[in-house]
Symmetry: C2
Subunit: 319 residues, 2 copies
């Protein structure tokens, strides 16, 4: 598989992503072996997170900008993080027809979100899929997510640049957004700035710029700004791409780009350790039997938390 | 100690808080014993978090509102969470003269922030100090923190109501604030609304209300609003106290008050379990020796995170 992936074979890449997403132990082992072999050939892409409320026009935007980039000669991989898919059974990017043209382009690789699993699991699968795509020579990675949960925080930890896609009617839209999401963004694009909507979109842009003036920027040394665009009429996309390029240049010169990636790797390791520690603890038979009882007693004020922890760990030790 | 605390003896209460804050194993054991005995007598207070940038006038505000409440017959405990004190060696509330009148009032108990330790440790100590104060009959607890770090997130998890104290010149002040802090607040008080500053403070209040209209409220079923006050001239304090009382009534009727406390207890237990798991892992001798090496290899892209975790846990198992 290694050689085919390094040669940029999209069919084998898709199989490798499936391997990474598999829960089966033997498949996981294969996947880790493959990832290890591919590691030296990774890291050379711009990782771009794209989020926005439903209705913001994410698919149209990704298709429009994506085609533009592919036509420039870039190779683009589009991945998705959708924690809700495990609940609803649905999946963003699942409907291939949403990006019909892009999915047919020889320079593009589109992958729906991994189904099921915990947020942590989705996190790992997406990170490892990014590694695979990079090894296959994709130099731009889009990670798409719906901005209505914890997913945008996870995506922020996976990417270099984070784009928030919004539409006009800021007040209402902001209401539906998870708090704090604006502060994760390196750029905000007010989409659907066309026809009658153009003037309103300009106003919305101004409103966002006012809010942005009052929050800490997501990236050190970079000023997050709002822009308008129309994915449908291909307006403003070139400008946004220039913003992203300028961001990469600025942060590479200041080393912030590389420091963030280092930090992301470290945090991923620490998070994985935490996940493993908790997985072992909470799947322990004795702990499972007693945790609910101690939880109940803590909530009812019958036992202190410190004592509950001590009691649980005294069982965990003698295991 | 138990009887003296239940009788409201402030001197013994202070000793008990010292016991809770002690790192020594025997003192910790005593503290837990005491907490366990006092648990049935706790929970009957309004826990109010107060945060704000340095210069917002927190001490003056707490002294002014505090005296008002003590004069109404309430018994008020003021605790502090100051994660920076472990670095700077300083401590908020350390300077007793800051709240001279309040500290002399027979109905008040003022306690500086516990010095040193991790955020998690400060968290535990403050929670347990709240328990002690409640057992001693304090029916209002203020938990003060400087709004420049993770401390306000911790305080939010400790309290029923969270007040953000600001001053005029919103743009500048907001810059200095940790992102997301506004969204934690159940009320925002624009302090120093007196003399020439009054008109500006009204404008600032309006600006905050505009921002608040666009973010999710911190508490379900409660609309966070901005108010003006002058702690120095004792203006607007009565109104704020009415807001807090109205909050408590509303959320008790809707059960949100009790649900939040339950959730806080559960989260405290889960957090304590996580802390204990990580403490054991990271103090393990073999892990300590190998973690840095694996971290380095992960950052340099020489080994995958999953493999690093596997390797570390293979060592941890045979311990």
């Amino acid at each position: 598989m290694k050689q085919a992936i390094l040669a940029g074979d999209r069919k084998v890449l898709a199989q490798a992503v499936t391997l990474v997403e598999s829960q089966a132990a033997d498949k996981q082992k294969q996947a880790q072996q493959l990832l290890q072999e591919l590691l030296p050939f990774t890291g050379n892409s711009i990782r771009i997170g794209i989020t926005g409320v439903p209705g913001a026009g994410k698919s149209t935007f990704i298709e429009a900008l994506g085609l533009k980039l592919c036509e420039k000669g870039h190779r683009l991989a589009v991945l998705a993080v959708d924690p809700s898919s495990s609940v609803s059974g649905g999946s963003i990017l699942g409907d291939k027809t949403r990006m019909e043209e892009l999915s047919k382009h020889p320079n593009a690789f589109i992958r729906p979100s991994p189904s099921g699993g915990t947020l942590g699991g989705v996190h790992r699968k997406t990170r490892e899929s990014i590694i695979l795509c990079e090894a296959a020579g994709f130099d731009i990675i889009f990670v798409e997510t719906v901005g209505v949960g914890q997913s945008e925080v996870i995506v922020r930890e996976l990417v270099d640049f984070f784009l928030l896609l919004v539409i006009t009617g800021a007040g209402d839209d902001l209401q539906g957004m998870k708090k704090g999401i604006i502060e994760l963004a390196d750029a905000i694009a007010v989409n659907k700035a066309d026809g009658e909507n153009e003037r309103k979109a300009e106003l919305t842009k101004k409103e966002y710029n006012q809010i942005l003036a009052m929050v800490q920027p997501a990236t050190q040394g970079w000023k997050t700004r709002a822009y308008t665009c129309s994915a449908l009429y291909l307006k403003g996309l070139e400008e946004l791409w220039e913003v992203i390029q300028s961001f990469v240049q600025t942060t590479k010169v200041s080393r912030v780009f590389f420091e963030r990636r280092k930090l992301q790797s470290k945090q991923w390791l620490l998070q994985s350790i935490r996940d493993e520690l908790e997985a072992r603890f909470y799947t322990n038979h004795e702990i499972r039997q007693l945790l609910q009882e101690y939880m109940k007693q803590v909530v009812e004020g019958k036992v202190t938390v410190t004592q509950a922890v001590e009691a649980l760990f005294s069982i965990y030790e003698v295991k």
